[in-house]
């Protein structure tokens, strides 16, 4: 790939967000500071730049098994406000892993923002694993902002598994996810969110089940440290025979604050919807147990948080 277009800051962030090992195998598109740094299509995955808006269309061939595409985005300096529209057209019976992810880096008092608007059109029988990690870095005082929008349409029997993680250093984020499910479609979302200092995170899910026997499983885990604040809202709508489960678990450390407002709507007698939510500090007995294994209180706290955030399953 065209390494010369990708700067050092991007390289460092790519390692964090995509486990990048120096080369992407297969199809990819790397976005840097508001434009495409490099891209490559393959015989089965076509990446086409949009002509009306910044962004790309990604066509994933029908029936192709175990494909992968990388589409990370990096903002490496203050003063960049990047908006990008990426549309994924996943054709019938495809089986693809999409590795997205985003890093924002500030260099001075001006902010840096990435606003990725991702739409998924997933045709019947297709299976998508969508992975995204978000991270903020840089010594600049400007706000590091990531505002992802994810819009999903799942066809009959299609499956989307979405693993979304905010690692650290993101000052502000508004995360919006919308999904509409046809018959037997299945959506699994695993979110993990870490905020610290005076970070503010807002996360909002709306899932509409329109097709019989569709299902959603939404698991969100978050840790609010320092003076940070989080606002969680989920709305699961079941308009047919379907099952919905959401679970929102938050740990508070220091002066962190979390507001969780889960909403369920059942518009059919056979819509079975469940929500579980828990917010609180780390259980004292968990810390004590790890101390009896030789960890200090602080080390115990770190291990518990690490396990909590990475152990979403």
């Amino acid at each position: 790939m065209a390494r010369e277009n990708i700067n050092e800051t991007s390289l460092a962030m790519l390692k964090e967000i995509t486990d990048w090992e120096g080369l992407f195998d297969g199809a990819y598109s790397v976005r840097q500071d508001g434009s495409c740094a490099d891209m490559q299509s393959t015989a089965t995955i076509k990446i086409v730049p949009k002509t009306d808006n910044p962004g790309i269309d990604i066509y994933i061939q029908a029936g192709k098994k175990k494909d992968i595409v990388y589409i990370p985005a990096c903002v490496t300096k203050s003063g960049v406000d990047d908006v990008v529209y990426n549309d994924f057209h996943v054709q019938k019976d495809a089986d693809v892993t999409i590795v997205a992810g985003c890093g924002v880096h500030t260099t001075d008092d001006e902010g840096a923002r990435h606003n990725g608007i991702h739409r998924f059109f997933i045709e019947p029988g297709a299976h998508v694993l969508y992975k995204e990690k978000h991270i903020g870095s840089g010594a600049g005082k400007g706000l590091r902002v990531i505002d992802p929008v994810t819009d999903v349409v799942l066809g009959e029997g299609a499956v989307l598994e979405m693993d979304t993680q905010q690692l650290s250093g993101v000052d502000r984020t508004v995360r919006k996810t919308n999904a509409k499910l046809d018959k037997r479609a299945k959506l699994v979302i695993r979110e993990s969110l870490l905020t610290d200092d005076d970070n503010v995170a807002e996360t909002d899910f709306e899932v509409i089940m329109e097709g019989e026997d569709s299902s959603v499983d939404l698991i969100s885990r978050s840790v609010a440290k320092g003076e940070s604040r989080q606002n969680y809202h989920s709305h699961i709508i079941g308009n047919c025979r379907c099952t919905g489960h959401s679970e929102c678990d938050a740990i508070l450390v220091g002066n962190g604050k979390v507001n969780a407002s889960p909403e369920l709507f059942a518009g059919d007698l056979d819509a079975a919807l469940i929500h579980e939510a828990a917010i609180g500090k780390i259980a004292g007995e968990q810390i004590i147990k790890l101390q009896t294994l030789g960890l200090t209180e602080q080390e115990a706290e770190e291990k518990i948080i690490e396990g909590f955030l990475t152990g979403v399953e």
């Binding site: 101390q291 009896t292 030789g294």
Partner: protein, 242 residues
């Protein structure tokens, strides 16, 4: 060698729960503490592991005074404690807990070996989170495994038999017997189980916060009256033995 000297422990409201315990736990030997529910066995274990601080009295580990050490420092000094009620974690896996317990990068086969001792198949359990999805017996066995994974000189197991099925219990007994011979550590098991009492070197009977009887197995076991009729309750029977 672990030594307790006249250890007392009061609740904040002043009620005395541990009323002066003198106890020596020797390396290479298995000491079993037994006694009625609520007698103070777990409280004593927590005093040894540093979860509670004695109101008065002293605790020594190999002649080092550890009375004022906190939980972490006592763990580092060589005390390992398997809880009566295992703690559940959201997220942490069996593998991660064993890593923490061993304090070093544990090899895959070492973890297998430890889990095997408590009758668990590593492939099946290694990546399981230690949350409420584990059964009672499973989490109890993992709790025991965390103590086996540590390189400790005093190993305390609080009712290891609780919730363990009959088949696994036999191999657990084997594990304890092997521990006695293989390692030079001091073994302390709190138990109500006759089969564990039967492999003890020393038996200590605790009731109402006090040691009621103490001595070699053959000496103490017959006095416990566990197979006797009527009120076999050891309360009030001050059996003094050394």
């Amino acid at each position: 060698m672990l030594k307790l000297k006249d250890v007392h422990w009061d609740l904040p409201d002043g009620e005395e729960l541990i009323k002066g315990v003198d106890l020596t736990i020797s390396p290479g030997r298995l000491t079993v503490i037994t006694g009625p529910n609520g007698g103070g066995k777990t409280t004593l274990a927590k005093l040894i592991a540093g979860l509670y601080m004695p109101t008065s009295g002293k605790i020594f580990l190999d002649d080092r005074d550890i009375t004022d050490l906190g939980i972490t420092e006592r763990a580092k000094a060589g005390i390992a404690y398997a809880f009566q009620q295992p703690v559940r974690f959201k997220g942490l896996t069996v593998r991660q807990l064993l890593q923490i317990a061993s304090g070093t990068e544990m090899k895959e086969f070492e973890m297998c070996h430890i889990l095997e001792k408590v009758g668990l198949c590593a492939a099946e359990y290694m990546n399981r989170p230690l949350d409420t999805h584990l059964s009672g017996g499973e989490s109890k066995r993992i709790e025991i495994a965390t103590v086996l994974a540590r390189n400790a000189s005093v190993l305390i197991f609080d009712e290891p038999e609780a919730g363990i099925d009959l088949w696994s219990f036999s191999s657990l007994i084997d594990t304890f017997e092997k521990l006695k011979t293989e390692k030079s550590g001091a073994l302390l098991i709190i138990s109500h189980q006759e089969r564990i009492l039967n492999i003890a070197d020393e038996i200590v009977l605790i009731a109402e916060g006090k040691i009621r009887a103490q001595g070699g197995r053959d000496e103490v076991l017959p006095t416990l009256n566990i197979n006797g009729r009527g009120c076999g309750c050891p309360l009030g029977r001050e059996v003094v033995n050394g």
